[in-house]
Amino acid sequence: MRDYFIHTLRFVLFLFTQALIFNHLEIGLGIHIMIYPLFILLLPYNLNIFASMIISFALGFGIDTISDTYGLHASAATLIAFLRPTIFKFFEPRDGYDENQEMNIYEMDSRWLLSVFGLMLLVHHLWFFSLELFKFNEIGYILKKTFLSVPMSLIVCILIQIIFIKNPKDARSK
């Protein structure tokens, strides 16, 4: 029950922060920070893939309706929800995943997080910018936007986790 509440709250928060703040944060050089892939990463590990695709689609479509992108975010979010189990399986640690663990910065080691989440962000951003520009002769600009935006999104997402997610080790030591 508590999990449902947390994920619903996160859904709403990610939707509005992305649509009202990060979609307007225009840094220049074509950088576009997108943080909602973090929500898809933090969904429960054993969640049914249909459920995660529907939730991601709804999140993306919610962002689309507010920022007038009509299906771009929905398409990109569904893509990473679809690829999520495959990526998890590919980077599976030697002793497997814990049933109830969350894929956040405290539970997983940093190398795993960087490779899995970095790959998810890369796929997401590349898909998003390719669809947005949608011209073969703009491929240089698409790649430039992708490779400048991915590190920024990654840094912001790591900061969000450090600031807003409680470290379980801290709680135990107290």
Binding site: S67, S75, T78
Partner: protein, 278 residues
């Protein structure tokens, strides 16, 4: 038949994924050419209200700049007031003559949402069909044109801005009258381009570009920008012209919507032209 079911079961995740993608992408690509509904865009009631709340928070960010702009506009208007003129001949009276007839009406509006770093940027205005906004009306500010109304609901409307790929507003170089189409390459919010000007026409750098008013969306002579760079297109007798917009679309707030009273008349007349058969 059983094979078919087995196929569906085996690929059900992928098929579901494809179905969602088809839905999302068809909405995306059809919206660019024509808005099917206003309910899932920022012109809808709920999203309009959310954006209004967000605008209430951020509207004071550029306050001092906007005040200066309004003041400058006030000065320009004040200059035209009767008080600012000295009578050269006593006994002059103002006659409401019949030489000029009102052609455009203007509706003031506020931009409550705008972006400039997407490939196609749409702005949301706080007025809608209740205030008399209709599809295909022109939107402009004191400094330059902004775009064309794309989608209208009761209290909000969405503008297809000049920062869109297929905006195609007809503009002309003010000094020579050579005209072309306004385009945007999706990179820099300050720079647009003009296509369709033949390169045997002499065009000077930094000459002023204004609207041509041909399609009746904008009045003739609204500022658009200045030519910042020009070179001939390879293999075609055309200029490739870069244009520095005179309006900064990154901090746009107050706009006017131009309503052409005689648009129906013009369209009716133009529809009588026979279509070329080749």
């Amino acid at each position: 038949m059983r094979d078919l079911f087995a196929f569906f079961r085996k690929f059900r995740v992928f098929l579901f994924f494809v179905a969602l993608q088809v839905f999302a992408l068809s909405t995306y690509f059809t919206y660019l050419s024509f808005p099917r509904s206003q309910y899932l865009t920022s012109a809808s009631e709920i999203n309009g209200k959310i954006l209004k709340v967000s605008y209430e928070v951020t509207k004071h960010f550029n306050l001092s700049q906007n005040n200066t702009l309004l003041q400058q506009e006030n000065i320009a208007l004040r200059k035209q007031l009767p008080q600012s003129f000295m009578a050269l001949q006593s006994g002059n009276v103002l006659i409401n003559d019949t030489l000029h007839k009102q052609r455009y009406e203007y509706i003031p509006a506020t931009v409550i949402k705008s972006t400039f770093n997407h490939r196609n940027n749409y702005f949301t205005l706080n007025i809608g069909s209740v205030e008399g906004v209709e599809r295909d009306m022109g939107v402009f500010t004191d400094n330059g044109i902004v775009g064309i109304i794309h989608n209208v609901s009761a209290h909000f409307s969405v503008v297809k801005s000049v920062l869109t790929e297929a905006i195609n507003i007809d503009v002309m170089v003010e000094s020579t009258g050579a005209f072309g189409m306004l385009k945007w390459d999706g990179k820099d919010a300050r720079i647009g381009s003009i296509t369709g000007i033949s390169n045997d026409i002499k065009v000077k750098k930094w000459s002023k570009v204004v609207t041509r008013g041909g399609s009746g969306i904008f009045p003739r002579g609204l500022p658009v920008g200045k030519i910042s760079n020009l070179k001939p297109v390879e293999g075609k007798p055309l200029w490739d012209i870069s244009l520095l917009y005179s309006e900064d679309y990154r901090k746009i707030q107050r706009v006017y919507v131009a309503k052409n009273i005689m648009k129906d008349e013009q369209l009716k007349l133009e529809s009588l032209i026979p279509i070329d058969k080749e």
